[in-house]
Amino acid sequence: MTPTRSQPIFLAVCVAGLVSLASPLGRQFLEASLVTHMLVQMPLLVFIGMGFGRISSAAAAPYVATWNRGGSTGLLLTLGVAMFWMLPRAMDAALVDMRFEAAKFVSLPVAGVALAWSYGQASPIVKGVLNAHVVSALGVMGWAYMAAPVRLCNAYLASDQEMAGAGLLAAGAVTAAYFAMRIVFFGATRSRYIRTSSASDDASIVAY
């Protein structure tokens, strides 16, 4: 992202968002229900991290380029963090153990930063696989939360779990529709990449 006058405002919004989410009031409000914990707080932490990542990507590019070729390292980090926080056991732990809670507030924004630094570097095929995986994973997770015969999280009600499952299914449907609409109506015209040549080689993607 090239430096602009709006960058400090964007940074302030991200910091304010992170502080709000981490405040006792914000935590109590969003962690009271599985739906808001899983579908609001955790995605917002990743989005805030992505905001930090966008602001810092140009400055960080020279340092991370050598060990993040094709965005592979960053994407693996993001996937690893996401896999961990998908576990009901991890969410339970965050509610009763401050070390897990702190880890959540650090790891999810870091995953967002890694995603922002890496997604644009990935080849279109890798991005497509990730996008498709997100849609099908949301569908499978949504079904699993709705179909589970027992409570998966000790801290939340069974009814909460069903609502979270429905929310995940809805998120999967919205995400699928978004990707479909984007490639049908916008496609490459929305690309943020700069290409050094007109060749089809993905290696030509060098920067945002």
Partner: protein
């Protein structure tokens, strides 16, 4: 990117610039062999139903499962080979992706065959819940899991394939909407109108990409259910997801194969297949219809919402229009007084469009709720899909293979090629018509053992099936002998 958009009607059999051409040829040879093998499986089932050979029902259902998934896989792979071959004329494709798709598909095939013939999975290719998990002791959950993992591998391979075609189309045309020709459809814009191959490829990329994602989700759910049965699936939801995925996938194989007709027939007629507003509109309608038509498989599920049933019936009626009114009518118009020279390739390609069109008519009839009530569980339905696959998709594929290995532009439909074509067409048409006759006579489908009153039709079917197999075997030998020397 390098603009490689070329005249659609270049020199015959021009294979220059096709990435992974070896992979394409390997796909055709392997799929051809698989098709013949699966036809032998089909013949075995007919022989068993007719009481001519003794096959234990437990093995009958294994063979039926292998026949179904083998044919669907071969149809998908051959359709993908055709689409890749011709799409490479207009966009820059990356060869390793095709080879990765082929490798993953072959790995999936190994898993599927092992699950069936080593571990005894026999739950039909549709793996409908709860059969994979509740086999009554016929197979272990592990067998079903390996089958599903095999499907997953094939699905991942096809996902890579469509991501690559989608990437290349977007890179060349800016968006899939433009690649589908929507500016022409909506505003009449004539700038950079995509050729028919691009329009068809963009539509298939979009709808089969969606279908594969839904298929991946339901396979993932089924796998969890196998090992954690307490995670129950809503059976109706599972059936909807499976039929959405399955119906879209098998339709995609035909829509990919028809690209061979768009590209090759103009070489014979000397009349370019044009991208008109009607053509683009028909493909846009096809996009919606293919996604919305699958409920006609669920008309006997009385718990389905009424509106979904109505959609299934109405869209089934409508889905014939883009096909019959546009592709078939256009083909007839292009052929009329063109002075076209007939050889094996052109004969098979035209036959393919006939089989596709005619085969859809029994489907439209079956999608009427009142007809469906009495016909859907009869051999009428296999009659319909054998019609549009055996005489439709597969004919287009063999036509493409014959065109790819033509020895000279002066070949005629005579001698061995005419004989093989006559044997295949007689056998194939007779076989599918007997399926339809059996269905109209209320012979049930998926029964390993037939009543004495039904086996007369089975005996005649065996003769026609053997003829069709003989014809196909001749095509395959011709292709394999020539493929090594063709450019």
């Amino acid at each position: 990117m390098t603009d490689i958009a070329l005249d659609a009607h270049r020199a015959p059999r021009d294979t220059g610039g096709v990435p992974a051409l070896g992979g394409v040829k390997l796909t055709l040879a392997l799929s051809g062999a698989v098709i013949v093998l699966m036809m032998l499986f089909g013949l075995t089932m007919k022989l068993a139903q007719g009481g001519l050979v003794a096959v234990e029902p437990i093995y009958f259902y294994q063979v039926m499962t292998a026949h179904g998934i083998g044919m669907v896989g071969a149809a998908g792979l051959t359709g993908a080979a055709i689409m890749w071959f011709f799409l490479a004329r207009y966009v820059a494709l990356t060869g390793w992706v095709y080879n990765a798709m082929l490798g993953l598909s072959l790995a999936g095939v190994v898993c599927i065959l092992a699950s069936i013939f080593v571990w005894g999975f026999a739950g039909a290719w549709t793996f409908l819940y709860p059969l994979p998990a509740q086999s009554g002791g016929v197979w272990e959950p592990g067998a079903a899991a390996i089958y599903l993992l095999g499907l997953m591998l094939v699905g991942v391979g096809f996902l890579l394939f469509y991501l690559e075609t989608g990437r290349a189309l977007i890179q060349r045309y800016g968006s899939l909407g433009r690649a589908m020709g929507w500016p022409l459809l909506l505003t009449g814009e004539q700038d950079d109108v995509p050729p028919p191959t691009v329009v068809a490829s963009a539509v298939v990329t979009l709808f089969n990409g969606l279908g594969i994602v839904v298929g991946a989700a339901v396979i993932g759910i089924s796998l969890i259910n196998l090992y954690a049965p307490e995670f129950a699936i809503d059976a109706l939801l599972a059936k909807n997801m499976i039929y959405f995925f399955g119906h879209v996938f098998i339709n995609a194989s035909i829509y990919m194969a028809v690209i061979a007709v768009y590209e090759i027939i103009p070489q014979y007629t000397g009349r370019p297949w044009k991208t008109s507003r009607v053509f683009v509109g028909a493909w846009a309608a096809t996009l919606l219809f293919v996604l919305a038509v699958y409920p006609h498989h669920l008309l006997q599920d009385t718990v389905m919402p009424g509106w979904a049933m109505v959609v299934g019936q109405v869209v089934s009626y409508a889905s014939g229009i883009p096909l019959i009114a546009v592709t078939t009518f256009s083909l007839i118009a292009y052929l009329h007084r063109s002075g076209m020279r007939w050889d094996l390739a052109s004969a098979l390609l035209v036959t393919g469009v006939f089989g596709w069109s005619a085969g859809s008519i029994p489907a439209i009839l079956d999608s009427m709720i009142v007809v469906n009530k009495v016909m859907h569980n009869t051999l009428w339905v296999p009659g319909h899909f054998h019609f549009y696959l055996l005489i439709g998709e597969v004919a287009m594929v063999w036509g493409f293979m014959a065109w790819l290995t033509r020895e000279s532009t002066g070949e005629r439909l005579a001698g061995a090629s005419a004989t093989s074509y006559a044997i295949y067409f007689t056998g194939g048409l007779g076989f599918v018509l007997l399926f339809l006759i059996a269905g109209a006579s209320s012979v049930p489908r998926r029964w390993a053992v037939h009543e004495p009153a039904w086996i007369g039709i089975d005996h005649i079917s065996v003769v026609f099936a053997a003829l069709a197999i003989a014809g196909f075997a001749m095509f395959l030998v011709r292709f394999v002998r020539r493929a090594g020397t063709a450019p």
